[in-house]
Amino acid sequence: MFLLELKNIEMTYRDEAVETRVLKGISFSVKAGEFVSIMGPSGSGKSTLLHILGFLDRPTNGVYTFDGKSMEEYTEDELARVRNDKVGFIFQTFNLLPRTTVLENVKLPLLYSGIKESVWDTLAREAIEAVGLGHRVEYEPSQLSGGERQRVAIARALVNKPDVIFADEPTGNLDSKSGGQVMDIIQGLHDKGHTVILITHETYTAEYADRIIRIKDGMVESDERVLVRRAGSHLVK
């Protein structure tokens, strides 16, 4: 049984007269607990693919099945619900709310969840501890380093205990040391049983995963197992 399954996914953007085919029929499946890297040069359509995978956008054609249910069957509000409790996002540019504390940033997904307000604080602090930022709870993003900011974003992605974590170039804006730390955490999440889908254009980063799907010109170029996984010093235990 696959957790998510793509069949002939196509995506075409229409901008007045110009028609751009970004995805030209993509098919693959991911099992629960897998760690998959999606690689490709810029313009290959990997970000668009992630948006579809993460329920942020609907494909022009093709069938996307998540947890046994086709995306077409979801209303907009139901998609928001799925994004809230099944999915966690980590962005290249962190996307933290400025002038808002780490704690409040991490709480953000809880605001839209059905979880009782009384446990929000505990859940958020747990997630912050898990990324090793327990001492930064009351800091604001502007007082944190890039690596720390991305770890806050990871905590935010974790707080709702999602089935899948989507990471879009999570190390793209970081130096290699902070990038390594962030990847260690992501790998740790996978080891704890989370399904992780990582988008990157660096082979080095992609090799943390146990499977790499290469995308080129809107199509799957290759889909292979990683024989020797990059080992990290796990922060997450």
Partner: protein, 414 residues
């Protein structure tokens, strides 16, 4: 619960941009402050004027000759009609006609100058019993003596004068017992009224009272009255007294059709409600003029909210990515606009109250009246309510714009 949380989120967003938020609500603050000020002054004026009229006593009834004036030209009829005479007075005095009547006094108005030695002054000359005025308006002769029905019956040429009249004519001399001339007739001053100022429709300090029959006979050469002032036994019996008066005079004048009445009866309560209505209409009119400024303020709020929505495109995208529905985003921005304008309403109300306290102090000084400081609760509720309503109306469009942003567009936005 969800509202408290949304309120907190909105509050935080507004606090982050303190200066901008304050400037945005300035229009609302000014508008609401102006409305509160106008309503407070209107209320103060109403209290003052109604208080003065009310000072006449709720049991006072006035009978005037002519038709009830329906416009400014109608009052001319009242001035020239001679339908009310002594027989009417006598008829009203009969217990069998108007059983609930307590007292009745006639009044005539004289337009004349008064002189003493070389000094001349033009007071308001009323042929009206000084005793009756004292009882009705609570202004009692403090120097000398008053006069009443006995002096009227005996056609005594006596006068009671206001403090200003005394000052103008006598230059500090004691007026009591002195002889003054009105229309070449000699009158003896027997009493002086204390300085009182404006009372209802005239200035008590500029009064000169003589017995009504004397005014009719010696000053005007007429046999009718300009007014007959009646006091009912109690405020409760006013309606019945009015009906009895109308009936009695109609009988006397052989009038069967009330449409053809050559007199009209007005009670103080009627006058009170009339003046009250005029003042509140005026206040409401002014307040609604100022309310236009709230619309202008609302447009300012909408403008800034639109800027804010566009600036926070990334935030909106992020919120949607982590599970916010369109409705959540819509509510967030709408509540933000409402909180913004409601805060403007509260600040405006406080400023408005402060300004009206200052205005009350200044008016009391300048006009020399006891202008009460009023804080109309209605105005506060209205001010804050209306400004929150402005937020609701003018926040809807920006909130709609925000909710419609697609999450990927929003996240891509740099």
């Amino acid at each position: 619960m969800i509202f408290v949380r949304t309120f907190k989120t909105a509050w935080n967003a507004l606090i982050i941009n303190k200066a901008r938020s304050l400037l945005t609500i300035l229009g609302i603050v000014i508008g609401v402050a102006a409305i509160i000020l106008i309503m407070a002054i209107g209320q103060g004026a109403q209290d003052l004027i109604l208080g003065e009229i009310g000072g006449l006593g709720a049991d006072t009834i006035v009978v005037r000759p002519g038709k009830q004036p329906t416009g400014p030209s109608g009052s001319i009829d009242t001035l020239f009609s001679d339908s009310l005479k002594e027989r009417d007075l006598d008829a009203l005095r009969k217990k069998s006609n108007v059983p609930t009547l307590k007292s009745v006094t006639p009044a005539v108005f004289v337009s004349a100058s008064v002189s003493y030695k070389g000094n001349t002054y033009r007071p308001q000359v009323f042929g009206w019993s000084a005793d009756s005025m004292a009882e009705m308006l609570n202004i009692y002769v403090t120097r000398g003596v008053s006069f009443g029905e006995r002096e009227d019956r005996q056609r005594e040429s006596v006068a009671v004068i206001g403090s200003k009249v005394a000052e103008e004519l006598f230059d500090g001399e004691d007026p009591i017992g002195k002889s003054i001339r009105i229309k070449n007739k000699s009158f003896r001053v027997i009493g002086v009224l204390p300085p009182t100022g404006q009372v209802v429709f005239f200035n008590a300090d500029e009064l000169l009272l003589v017995p009504p029959s004397v005014a009719q006979l010696y000053l005007l050469g007429i046999d009718h009255y300009n007014e007959i002032i009646v006091q009912a036994e109690s405020p409760e019996s006013v309606d019945r007294t009015v009906a009895d008066i109308e009936h009695t005079i109609r009988d006397l004048h052989n009038i069967t059709d009330p449409e053809k009445d050559d007199f009209y009866v007005q009670s103080q309560s009627e006058l009170l409600s009339m003046v009250g209505t005029i003042l509140s209409v005026l206040t409401a009119f002014l307040a609604s003029m100022v309310a236009i400024s709230l619309v202008v303020g609302g447009i300012g709020v909408m403008n800034i909210m639109l800027v804010s929505v566009s600036e926070r495109t990334r935030e909106i995208g992020l919120r949607k990515a982590v599970g916010a529905t369109n409705k959540d985003i819509h509510r967030q921005f709408l509540v933000e606009a409402i909180v913004l304008t409601a805060v403007g309403g509260v600040i405006g109300t406080l400023i408005g109250f402060a300004l009206s306290a200052v205005a009350a102090l200044i008016l009391s000084r300048v006009l020399g009246v006891s202008w009460a400081i009023t804080f109309p609760v209605m105005a506060a509720v209205l001010g804050i309510g209306v400004s929150a309503g402005v937020g609701l109306v003018f926040g809807s469009y920006p909130a709609h714009k925000a909710s419609e942003k697609s999450p990927i567009e929003a996240l891509r936005y740099e």
